[in-house]
């Protein structure tokens, strides 16, 4: 039946968790596109062959199927981009490799452009240095915070220029702005007061 394929695509998305992005189904999308082309060609064929007594129901159904395929394909792409956008705010500009490998070439491009746009916007806020909007999304309580390293993360250059070697289970006092992204990525954890 018409549109079954595109519904399969959306079901793939529905089944996956909202904080993941399943592999981009290029084959599926191509199949839907070719279904749309066939439907379109069939409509044109009807119109060419018969001048009167057109099979109206058949034409209307094909037309509706084309529109629905279009809507579903756009929804497939839109939903994926929403999730991708969410990731930029949650974990930053560097995507985990397993997310990255599930993206299409245009999605990667879109993500890079989104990052660029966001950064250039953030630069324009305030007078000189700009404002990092992804930082301190909840009101900070202090400028410095005590953290524990969960892994041997290696070198970390502090804002002062000092270099710190992060070792598993060691505790450090870091500025909140420096600690926050590392905490979000799960490299450090905040020591509870």
């Amino acid at each position: 039946m018409y549109c079954d394929k595109v519904i399969e695509l959306l079901k793939e998305l529905e089944r996956s968790r909202e904080d993941t992005i399943p592999p981009y189904n290029n084959d599926g999308i191509n199949q839907v596109l070719s279904e749309m082309k066939t439907l379109d060609a069939e409509i044109i064929e009807f119109l060419r062959k018969q001048k009167d007594n057109l099979p109206l129901d058949a034409i209307r159904l094909r037309r509706a199927a084309i529109e629905r395929n279009k809507r579903c394909l756009m929804t497939y792409i839109w939903t994926r981009l929403q999730r991708l956008k969410e990731m930029r705010w949650e974990i930053g500009a560097i995507l985990p490799s397993d997310v990255r490998q599930n993206l299409s070439q245009s999605e990667i491009e879109w993500f890079n452009n989104y990052c660029k746009t966001l950064v250039s916007y953030m630069k324009t806020i305030g007078s000189d240095t700009g404002l990092n909007l992804t930082q301190d999304t909840k009101p900070p309580k202090s400028l410095y915070t005590e953290v524990r390293s969960l892994v041997d993360a290696g070198k970390l250059e502090l804002e002062s220029g000092e270099v710190l070697i992060l070792r598993k289970n060691s505790q450090y006092m870091l500025s909140r702005s420096q600690a926050e992204p590392l905490i979000r990525q799960g490299i450090l954890e905040q020591v509870r007061q």
Binding site: L33, M36, K37, D40, A41, I44, I66, E67, K70, M74, K138, P139
Partner: protein
Amino acid sequence: MMHPSEIEFMAENEIIQIVPTFNHAGHVHLICGSYGPFRAGLPLNVPIWVALNLRQKKTCRILAPDWMAVDKLQERLEEEKASKFFTQLPSNFYLEITQMLLTVASEDIPQGNDIKTAVKDLWDLRIAKLRSSVDLFIKEGRVQASLNHLTPMEINSVRPVFPDTLDALMTLHEHINSSDDREDSSQSSIATPSSASFSPSL
């Protein structure tokens, strides 16, 4: 929806009395106002966030607000129980202020545990009232209601559920008498791509 910590942030701007243990003759000029002078042993008004910072450095003692006393809170609780409506509270941030002060300055506040319990009772009572009003509102299919004296944290506790529910109900009520409109597009707030015709060159 706001995160509870954002509402707490708003609460931090409320004014409270402290007794500093240091001297600082001038005023401290802040965006939210100028405070000072600080004289050891003499109480003065400052925003809560200043008080908490000084208290953590052990350079002041915090004086609990008048309402933060077991007997006063008990009175409020009785009043709240007796009233069908929400009563006006002495602070719009009673829960957050209690929580912040008891975390940082529990030694400065007598009967801290009892205060905590009383505030929790007051909160629970008011939230129960709020929930039953929301239930009633939905059940009776009302379109308008006025609720006075709710605090920001209390209002936040029914967000985003309440607006979501009203949206859902509106969706179900929409176009109840007409049958010929389009099922699901066009009514949304999200930009709907115009249904431009499909081009075979795709």
